[in-house]
Amino acid sequence: MRGVVFMMRLQDDGKTTQLVSVGRDVPAVKWWGDVKLALGETLQKTLGEVGFYVQRQEREWLISRWMETDLCVDRKSTREKNAAKREDVRFVISSADTTLSLSPALADRSVVSRPVVPVTLLPRASGDFYVSTPLWISITSGTRKIKLMDFPTIRPSDTWFGPNTRMGELCYMSRTDAFASLDCLPVQADRVITPVRIINESNESLNVSHIKLAVPHLSVFSDTKMRLWTERAVLVNKGDTSLFEFRVDKTEHLTDACERLSEPRVPLRRNRLTQTWSFLIGSS
């Protein structure tokens, strides 16, 4: 199910007006943007492992979401069991709010990516990698875009990133191939690509076993192929493997045709750079 998008729009009479599915190896489809819903109308989507629907009711939005992997398909009382696994939330709104906005977002914590095959950067070498991290969906209401909720498209796994169990940071874990070429990267509708440039300015080899991406500091863009991107993260090792200089660059992939879809959750402050990124790469 991961990497597949289903989009469905239900009307009062239960008719489906849209149904689109997107797999890993076919172009992504634009699922974000503003949607106007009439009273009683429902918008349903499945993205990655998460399914959700939003229904406009009398002066409120009803949002229901579930993990597709939790649903039962082979039991008699499927409907009741599945209903129990759904999480329903209601938001009371003014009668004028008929517009709902969906937008992609990044994780609310840093994401630690562990390359499937460890990478070693030789002294004075630099490397470009493409790391993908899980996508979050943000739902806002009305023209003022008041945030209703955001949730991940997969069930993220927690991990600890730090030199010991006392010092460090709680992050999400993600396995990545850390591809050096964009062509190798599969199209995944439920992941956002971050180009990472690692520059090893020290005289010793740098073993990159983990990459911690502080994605709350990054924005989300979409390109003309509807792939989701962030800015490039540039990491410079000045010699001390526990301390990295970090900066955010616009890449050549973020052309004028690219559209900025969401702002960083936490704006990056210059004086926090060193501290935030001090354990960016784990050396083994």
Partner: protein, 287 residues
């Protein structure tokens, strides 16, 4: 003359009372203002102490002012207070001990307001740290007051000091099981559970050969807020995984052995159609 004197006394008393009333108001307002200003900047524990210090400090100042208005000589009063404090000190050794212990706790900071601590059999959330005692709210919503002296003397465990915790699970499997396979199944359970941290990696310890089972310890790490969720869900998932994989969790076994001299006890099973039970154990001919 007498009227004038009594009038002067009334005025002095009125002034003293006014000073105390104003002092109470000022102390309350200033301490609340302090909380509002420093709320985001310092820890709750330190803030509570600063608030109390400011409140009682101002009260003492206004109290001294009120005493002066009443015509008391403060030098004499302080001297008397010195003598009195020695007498009170002897009479209230326990309180003094708690007070000193409270000061030590203040500087050592083994926990702060909001932490979950365990002292002896008492487990609860710290709701205030005062000079004489620490107040806890237990999880069954009881109010517990623990003297500071007890805290200094005994072992205190702070459960919320670090952001992650290890959940140790004891698992017993039958002697016939392949330990490497059991280990794989346990690792898979930890990998599937979203509350288990990927790193630090789960720990697998072979505890030893038990009476009825091979005893293992499987430890997983979790975010401290998820500790109970992990403890419950992982054990449940281990049971399900073991059942699916056919791994036996044995219960205590007892083997009857009659010794090498005595003949083994003969046991014969036979089906009895008339009986509702499916088998009857008959004793051998030797009986």
């Amino acid at each position: 003359m007498l009227d004038w004197l009594s009038f002067a006394v009334v005025v002095s008393v009125a002034r003293a009372v006014l000073l105390v009333v104003v002092g109470l108001g000022v102390a309350r307002v200033v301490s609340q203002l302090l909380v509002r200003v420093l709320k985001e900047k310092i820890q709750a524990h330190t803030l509570l102490l600063a608030q109390k210090a400011v409140y009682y400090g101002l009260l003492v100042l206004f109290g001294v002012g009120a005493l002066r208005e009443l015509g008391f000589n403060l030098t004499v009063l302080l001297g008397a207070a010195g003598v009195a404090s020695v007498a009170i000190g002897f009479a209230s050794q326990t309180s003094a001990s708690n007070l000193i212990s409270g000061l030590f706790l203040l500087f050592e900071e083994p926990f702060e307001v909001g932490d979950i601590i365990k002292i002896g059999d008492t487990l609860g959330e710290v709701i205030s740290v005062d000079l004489l005692s620490v107040k806890l709210r237990t999880f069954d919503n009881l109010f517990v007051r623990i003297p500071n002296e007890t805290l200094i003397k005994s072992e205190v465990t702070t459960l919320t000091k670090f952001p992650i915790r290890r959940v140790d699970l004891r698992v017993g499997v039958a002697y016939k099981e392949d330990i490497a396979r059991v280990r794989e199944v346990l690792q898979a359970v930890a990998e599937r559970n979203p509350f288990c941290l990927d790193e630090p990696e789960p720990l697998f310890i072979f505890l030893g050969f038990g009476d009825s089972s091979i005893d293992l310890q499987f430890s997983v790490w979790a975010k401290r807020e998820n500790f109970l969720d992990v403890k419950n869900t992982v054990q449940e998932e281990i049971k399900i995984a073991f059942d699916q994989q056919g791994i036996e969790i044995p219960f205590p076994h007892r083997t009857l052995y009659a010794g090498s001299v005595t003949e083994p006890i003969p046991v014969q099973l036979s089906m009895s159609p008339a009986s509702s039970t499916s088998s009857v154990v008959e004793r051998g001919a030797s009986d």
